[in-house]
Symmetry: C2
Subunit: 341 residues, 2 copies
């Protein structure tokens, strides 16, 4: 999907004052990383590695897994498209509502796609359907829900003929128990997606990775075009992994903020789904999320995510991610103002 | 192809003193661009545009063509893979020796590939073969040869059932007459590839584009994954196009240098092909290019391109690109030393 993603700050020039539309925490100081990048003129004047093998090596050492079990990609998005291509023509199941790219990548490679509502995953929907490929976002975007780890592993083991793609891009924002790398590497039918984008709050760079048994990873590597990850993304990955202790996101504090926002929004009559993360899926009692979005943006420079284009959601849905307390309070006040117009 | 490209500076830590292995001019001052990038923290903290439409718009204005006739990609390489995919299963012809990615992209998408020697292009090889898709690099890498424009256009018009991909990434380094944008847009069977990488000497960024009639471009856009071009590449493109007058490459002076180098190398008994560019394809009278490369690198920090892995070339071929006069003289002296060992 090209239009309709969140974090569409680029549409509004310099007019966004607070960006609630992205699930990625906005309060990270990147000045050290930027100084480091600016000190490396070769990032402009030399080709990057054709494959980002130096990042794969460093990540594998950081995580403590063999380098053959990891592939670094141009954002997790490239991994999604590589997997869809590898499994061209599959019967795929996508747990919805969710990130749109699973479905789009499947459509591009002639999959037959069935949607499974999030609430039915733990009720055996996969067991009945027996898809070749299953896409789950965990925690899920836009709901913030984390699937119970034991139950999810049990489903994965029961459906041994299904390849599960578990996108854990938002794991660092979650207070729930997501899958461990060891859960993935001890099985033959799971690929875990991850994203430095989210972990270090650097979505502009496009750097993600997939972890899976080496037989799966080698099949993806063969299809990756050379130089898909540019020099800035490669250099930044090294810097971020070396300085990762400086980048800890306080997921508990952000989750607390999100719970506080949910409470305040519910008081206004807005439905809020229970979340395990920093972001909340909300539904207006009346009116359109797109109108609320435009009003908040043009009146106050506050950007939210119109969530009406997620599969199974309607015009009334929007998504917000907790920022600092003061900004969150401002948002609630402004939404209240809009509702009283 | 993952291994075996030129500009493999990343292999040698900081030990490369002069890089003759890339065709891209190394004498460009990027300090203004780097300062500009470092002044934009949002390049890290916000998503890029899902499609680099702002760059497409600016490029179309700069070139003076409709925006629908241009697609900006993650290096020209992404355009090559998109075209190969769009034409999946084609009978393709690749003019060789040449850049390896045409052949690799064709292999990835189940094309039947026939190689046409560069010297046979103007002799009607395409007319006999009638491929669905023809790949030409113009000027060609590694030979530096530019095809006669009138004759090439005549071939394109004669083979009206063949789609020609003419990669003009090195056009700004050429003293020959390459195709004009109007040559491409007045026909239905040509795609021209171009690269900001080469034009502005920024290969680390990965930014290229294709120009073709809108019917072709729209077919490629549909297959491009979102966010394939990252924020640094997008921002740099805007800066470079705005400051393009500061980035003029003196192709005539570089070509003069290349001719001087050819003369000196021939005096040593090395075969040098006639070039229209800044780079030269050379063949040792005896010994291996790979040995010469390693010796030059480890003894003097001079990096050349072992060209033995180009289709139809053998172990004796290497490629060098002219740098400043003093460095070029040093290289000749060092090659002479190696030959006398």
């Amino acid at each position: 999907m090209i239009d309709g993603h969140g974090d569409d700050v680029f549409r509004y020039g310099g007019n966004v004052k607070v960006n609630f539309s992205t699930n990625i925490h906005q309060g990270v100081d990147h000045s050290g990383l930027m100084r480091h990048l600016a000190s490396c003129p070769r990032l402009l004047s030399n080709y990057p590695e054709p494959e980002p093998v130096s990042v794969e090596k460093k990540l594998s050492e950081t995580i403590g897994i063999p380098v053959d079990d990891i592939i670094v990609t141009n954002g997790a998005t490239e991994a999604i498209y590589l997997i869809a291509r590898k499994m061209q023509g599959s019967r795929s199941a996508v747990v919805v509502p969710t990130f749109r790219e699973y479905q789009d990548a499947c459509a591009m490679y002639a999959h037959t796609v069935r949607f499974i509502p999030e609430c039915e995953v733990l009720n055996g929907a996969f067991v009945d359907l027996k898809p070749n490929l299953a896409w789950l976002c965990n925690p899920n975007n836009p709901t913030g829900r984390v699937f119970n780890r034991e139950v999810l592993l049990n489903i994965i083991d029961t459906c041994s003929e299904t390849l599960f793609v578990v996108d854990q891009a938002y794991a660092d924002y979650s207070v729930g128990d997501v899958l461990e790398v060891s859960d993935v590497l001890s099985r033959k039918n799971v690929i875990m997606l991850q994203s430095l984008t989210k972990q270090f709050a650097v979505p502009g760079l496009r750097i993600g990775y997939a972890v899976a048994p080496s037989e799966i990873i080698s099949g993806l590597r063969i299809m990756r075009m050379p130089w898909s990850v540019n020099s800035f993304a490669i250099e930044a990955s090294h810097y971020l992994l070396e300085h990762r202790k400086d980048y800890s996101i306080d997921r508990y504090q952000l989750h607390e903020e999100a719970l506080g926002m949910s409470k305040a929004l519910r008081r206004l009559g807005i439905e809020c789904q229970d979340t395990d993360c920093n972001f909340i899926l909300c539904r207006l009692p009346e009116g359109n999320a797109s109108q609320l979005k435009e009003w908040l943006m043009h009146r106050y420079g506050l950007l939210i995510r119109d969530a009406s284009n997620f599969e199974t959601l309607d015009h009334a849905y929007f998504r917000v991610a907790a920022q600092d307390h003061e900004s969150n309070e401002l948002l609630i006040k402004c939404i209240e103002e809009w509702m009283s117009l």
